[in-house]
């Protein structure tokens, strides 16, 4: 028997597979399809202080081996997440969940993090300072080491629970930003958020997305994500959660060898609702194939 358990900031995961925020809702759409307790955990839909409708549609555009999205953090706001979504989730998911937090100011991040961290179900807080689809916040915190550190040190004061900072790939020196987050008190780093891109309709001669630009995800971005996880995991001593185009158990192993302690699966959930479950189920077979008895042994094996 192979051992798929990994440690993420002091909490043991049965396996390293974590559906990524924004691709798994608040879990229960998928719970209708399979028992989501087979997952390591999952990161729920990015939550903000106030309710948000998000961007106008079209919000989705197809690309080679991937997609663009410009949803723009649609969510019911932190109060409703706590009073409505989390109780529903508790009925179908019995492990600690990862709460994904977004904001438009340091105060926003502090407010939302404090409320979510107080929820017993929440095991980790994933602080998204990298959303490319909102203006006047989001990614702007994740593209500057000082602003990133300001958010991290402010939310650090609200909780002792693990803080994982989700970084944007749309920067020149991602390792520098990761180091700055670590120094400000982060317990982990997750990356990559989507790569900024766009498409233009040949017939209308206008951008396909109402937001003009969107975030590129899917298998196409896997090599970029892998490279950045490799660089960041070498630069910091806190755990790294790797994501970007993962769609198979083989991809999980490769991302872990690059330095990830756990992985998130994003776009794959949208084209195949069973993708995360299938990856979990396939992990033991692929581990045996490559002679891996304990998954945690391969973290950073390529360094």
């Amino acid at each position: 028997m192979v051992d798929t358990k990994v440690d993420l900031c002091g909490i043991t995961l049965d396996n390293p597979v974590i559906p990524a925020s924004g691709t798994f809702g608040y879990g229960y759409e998928f719970a209708e399809l399979y028992d989501i307790n087979c997952l390591g955990t999952f990161s729920f839909k990015g939550t903000t202080r106030d309710p948000r409708f998000g961007n106008e549609t079209p919000r989705i555009a197809e690309c080679p081996s991937g997609m663009l999205n410009a949803v723009g953090l649609q969510n019911p706001g932190v109060d409703k997440v706590i009073t409505e979504e989390l109780p529903k989730l508790a009925e179908v998911f019995h492990k600690p969940v990862m709460a994904n937090v977004s904001g438009f100011s340091v105060e926003d991040y502090v407010y939302t993090t404090e409320l979510l961290a107080a929820q017993e179900q929440v095991g980790w807080l994933e602080i998204n300072i990298s959303c490319p689809n909102v203006h006047g916040g989001g990614m702007s915190f994740g593209t500057d080491p000082c602003m990133a550190a300001d958010v991290v040190s402010a939310v650090r004061k609200t909780t002792d629970k693990p803080l994982i900072i989700k970084l944007s790939p749309n920067v020149t020196d991602i390792a520098g930003i990761a180091r700055s987050c670590e120094a400000a008190g982060a317990d982990g780093i997750s990356l990559i958020n989507t790569l900024m891109g766009m498409r233009i309709s040949l017939s209308s001669r206008k951008p396909v997305l109402a937001n003009t630009t969107g975030g590129y995800s899917g298998p196409a971005v896997f090599p970029v994500a892998l490279r950045m996880v490799y660089q960041v995991s070498k630069a910091v001593s806190i755990p790294v959660v790797g994501m970007g185009g993962i769609s198979s158990a083989e991809d999980v192993l490769e991302m872990m060898m690059a330095g990830a302690a756990a992985v998130e699966v994003g776009a794959a959930n949208l084209t195949d609702p069973f993708a995360s479950r299938d990856i979990v189920n396939d992990l033991p077979r692929v581990m045996e194939k490559y002679g891996i008895s304990r998954l945690s042994d391969i973290i950073g094996a390529s360094h």
Binding site: T23, G25, E29, F53, T57, R59, C63, Q74, T271, P273
Partner: protein, 280 residues
Amino acid sequence: MKQVVLKIQENKALTPTTYRMKLAGDTCAVSAPGQFINIRLDGFFLRRPISVNDVEYPSAEGCDDGVVTIIYKVLGHGTEEMTRYEPGRKLDVLTGLGNGYDLADAGKHPLLIGGGVGIPPLYLAARRLMENAECEDVSVILGFNSADEMYYVDEFGKLGCRVTVATADGSEGIKGFVTDAFRELVCECGSPCLAEAGREQESDSEFRRFTHFYTCGPEPMLKAVYAEVYKRAGISGQMSFEERMGCGFGACMGCSIRTAGGYKRICKDGPVLRTEEILW
């Protein structure tokens, strides 16, 4: 929702740009007309969501002899690729997606209004309404750009529906849009000033006052139908919407719209919405 493998039984052109595909297999998850299926195509990342035109259920639970029919228009690379698929090919399909038409509200004289690529889901609605003893008649208005783009007019007739065709260029039926055809129909039934006459008035001619309507078509058509049939004539109905989708099952929030009842996902809370919910 159910993930199934369906085998292509037929894939044939109805017009130069409109194809009908019959897919055999486990169709159990398809329930209401207006629902859609989401098909994975080799070489394309996102699935193609296409509305159900008709469904036959398997002979017994677990059997693979059901058939789901879709009608698709060639609009891009994905649908173009689909036209090349041969019978016998197997497709990975998510079935039974979305919230379809609720036929319980049809009343005695339902009206179906379809435009172009939006016509297919109304066929299953028409078939079920014709089987419904409460419905005394089912009227259908079908709109096309021109006669050479027409399809499925006879099929609705064969079900026993009263079919009226409108073409934008006047090459067949009433010249104009589906709303022009609607105005002619309500005049024919003896109440030309239907809106003014109010909801209670019944005409004694063969076209009774429509009790409810079901529609699907391009957004400009939906807006015109909303204004003419719902707002002006005062008939409530259900409208099927289209939007670019990521997942098709409610996870990604890629296809949200604002409604009177809050934010709704076209793929999961729709694609069918009630006129009362729509903010136009």
